[in-house]
Symmetry: C2
Subunit: 451 residues, 2 copies
């Protein structure tokens, strides 16, 4: 072990840290999960060459490597333990190119999504992948987990925004995948395969991504309140059934709303038990929002509409306060099931039944526009209680039964490994394991994660 | 051989054809290429079970299988030869579900893209992948080649529209990949890997695809004429540089324009040497088109603008007439390079230099909005002359040098195999071969194609 660290220091100098605080930080992410022991060392890579050098040493010594961005993952995918090298891309945070005419940018993996968007914003451009963590999560991490967010129904998932990648293989070889053109079908689509691969296949060291021009026109935002969560879900369903395409449609259930009130000192629950925020952009935004407002009002919702951007920010701030508000109540296990949009009310029923069966409350948020729900389990201490896992198990199976998936945007990591076979089936799981082996024959990349 | 056919007939009855005309048809596609000999048999599959039965026999007897939709491919990817079973999905042409609320549909692979869109259109819906062959090509074939088309810059490539697939492996096992939800990140993205895999990994037997609501608002279409192809390319660049996002932007060079005149009896070349069609949709269409018209006029273009749908169809019919017009001149080899949009003028220069060097004319069309060019080589007889391959070689290398790709939307098939390594590099090529082997250890799926 000391020999491995010595080799790393010899090759990489002060990019290698064995500082106790850094090693300790790499044992956890934002999932509430924490590994049982500290990793060997953290390599704070400054360049592709640093990453290649690290991987060559890892391969030569058969040492596991956990690639890590900002550590904001919610599935334990970037958690490292004893005997592992942590390969941090956080210091590789440059924007290498912004090409407005081709609407593409080339970035290093460690740049924060929010920072990247600030830089693009100066030129009237933006990057559509929009996870709720965007202020603190890296573009490389967003790609490694195929991060979702608030805008996916209208603007696609992260995979749709990735044109090409540079990837370092376990033995240190550098691959260039994809292209700079909008189209390209040469060979198998390894770029798409890398997106969402959670550090299992290679290290993403550079990304060529699609960017967009700022959407012209008004931004029209509705905040609406309802007697119950089913009413809010019904309003959301009615809005899409009317042929409207909001950019954002976020649902908050009663217990999350109360948690926000307790955390932020607000009195939202005085206006209703459930909340739905709906935002339209583009040239038809104001007109669409007025139609949505009529639908909401007819269905008994109590709603405000604004076309002022600052006012809109205030309305969406309610949604943004949800995670910190829940975290203040205890350790949170944030689940991430996704179902077809029309199955949302059924999924809420399933959650209510699970709450009743287990005698617990499961505060739930939903990206209602795309059917992605975040049911939260809250408990004391660092260990997920067995009862929570039992309830989560029923939750996952309910989502699969509704044509959905275990995880819409957080990934499998270590938290959902045991349900992977339920969704994929044994045949597919075996194929996936074999593909992993093609890229990583020694099994040194993020071992114990996903599979 | 006869034994294999007997086994197929025994298992599949009259789904198996050894009719000389059917066997002969399977030797060619729309690439102008033709195999040297007839295949063993054509299985006209009626169901997933038929496909599984075929694959089980193929595996047991180590017989190669070429999956084929409508045979409209332009790279020879579905051409079959002696000793091979042709597995036709053309009879599996049902739409199994249209779910307007979840904006998804489930289809069998053999349905024609155009027919699917007719059915969707009755409900005010549509399927965005829009290859020029849509009237005659299947959705399964579109997925197997990740087909592009006219609308990709605005509405994405086929991959972006595929949520889930059912796939039969070479040994007959049925896999269910992906999901019905907008989001889903469980395990490696094998759905995306299947899209564009040209029949190498499995047989696509069912697809769950994203559909869209018809775009509301006006359709505003411009047909414009220019002194030369560089002027048309400059107009197209200026339109996107102004921040406008046309749904369609199609460029026609002088020799294609003359071929259309000769074929259709029109006199387009009287108005200019090069043609650019630009179409805007959505609520801001008319306003955007007026801005585009100003740009075109300033740059010396001679243009008509219409917001009448029938009139627009007539304007776009010019573009649609291009392929038959060229085909009337001789055997056409349609190339398919793609470059970043801003590299279009450089690519036209490269084509002009190649024309001069080889003393040939290379009539060229371009999806100018996304940088995808179709240079056409025209010659007599069925064999591509060496000189044409030599010119194509220079064309491909020029596209790669400009950050582009060998093929934007047609695929590698047999026609571009020899350049695959130039684009992918040896390391990536080897990984791709190994992934192929994971899916198809006996190498019976579409052997000799792509790799």
């Amino acid at each position: 072990m000391t020999d491995i660290v010595a080799q790393l220091i010899d090759a990489l100098g002060d990019a290698v840290s064995t500082d106790a605080a850094q090693l300790d930080a790499a044992r956890a992410d934002k999932s509430g999960h924490r590994s049982g022991s500290a990793p060997l060392a953290v390599v704070n890579a400054r360049s592709i060459e640093d990453i290649q050098a690290t991987m060559r040493i890892a391969t030569a010594t058969h040492t596991p490597v956990v690639t890590r961005g900002a550590g904001t993952g919610l599935a334990g995918g970037a958690i490292a333990a004893s005997g592992e090298i942590v390969l941090s891309t956080l210091a590789m945070d440059r924007v290498l190119e912004i090409n407005e005419s081709d609407l593409l940018a080339v970035v290093e993996p460690g740049i924060l999504n929010g920072r990247f968007n600030e830089i693009l914003g100066e030129q009237g451009l933006w990057f559509a992948p929009d996870p709720a963590s965007k202020a603190i999560s890296t573009v490389g991490g967003n790609i490694a987990t195929n991060a979702g967010g608030l805008l996916c129904a209208k603007y696609g998932v992260t995979r749709d925004a990735v044109l090409g990648l540079k990837v370092v293989l376990p033995d240190g070889r550098l691959l260039t995948l994809g292209h700079r053109s909008v189209k390209g079908v040469t060979g198998l689509d390894l770029t798409a395969l890398m997106v969402g691969s959670e550090g299992l296949l290679g290290v993403i060291v550079e990304a060529t991504v699609r960017i967009r021009r700022e959407v012209p026109g008004t931004l029209a935002t509705i905040a609406s309140f309802y007697p119950g969560v089913r009413d809010a879900a019904a309003a959301s369903a009615a809005i899409t059934a009317a042929g409207l395409q909001p950019a954002v449609m976020e649902l908050i259930d009663p217990s999350v709303l109360r948690a926000i009130d307790a955390f932020a000192g607000s009195s939202l629950a005085g206006r209703g038990n459930a909340h739905l925020a709906v935002q339209f952009d583009g040239p038809g935004a104001a007109e669409d929002a007025h139609r949505a407002l009529e639908i909401i009002t007819e269905l008994g919702g109590d709603a405000d509409l604004t076309t002022d951007r600052d006012e809109a920010e205030k309305l969406l701030a309610i949604r943004r306060a949800a995670h910190p508000s829940l975290a203040a109540l205890g350790t949170t296990l944030i689940e991430d099931v996704s179902v077809p949009r029309t199955a949302l009310p059924d999924m809420f029923d399933a959650i209510a039944a699970i709450e009743q069966k287990f005698g617990i409350t499961i505060p739930t948020l939903a990206h209602a526009g795309d059917g992605n729900l975040h049911p939260n389990f809250i408990f004391d201490g660092p260990i997920v209680p067995d009862q929570v896992w039992a309830a989560a198990d029923e939750l996952f199976l309910a989502a699969l039964k509704l044509g959905g998936t275990l995880t819409g945007e957080h990934g499998i990591g270590i938290l959902k490994k045991r349900w992977l076979g339920d969704e994929l089936g044994e045949d597919q799981l075996e194929l996936q394991r074999q593909i992993k082996q093609v890229f990583d024959p020694l099994g040194i990349l993020n071992p114990g994660k996903v599979f």
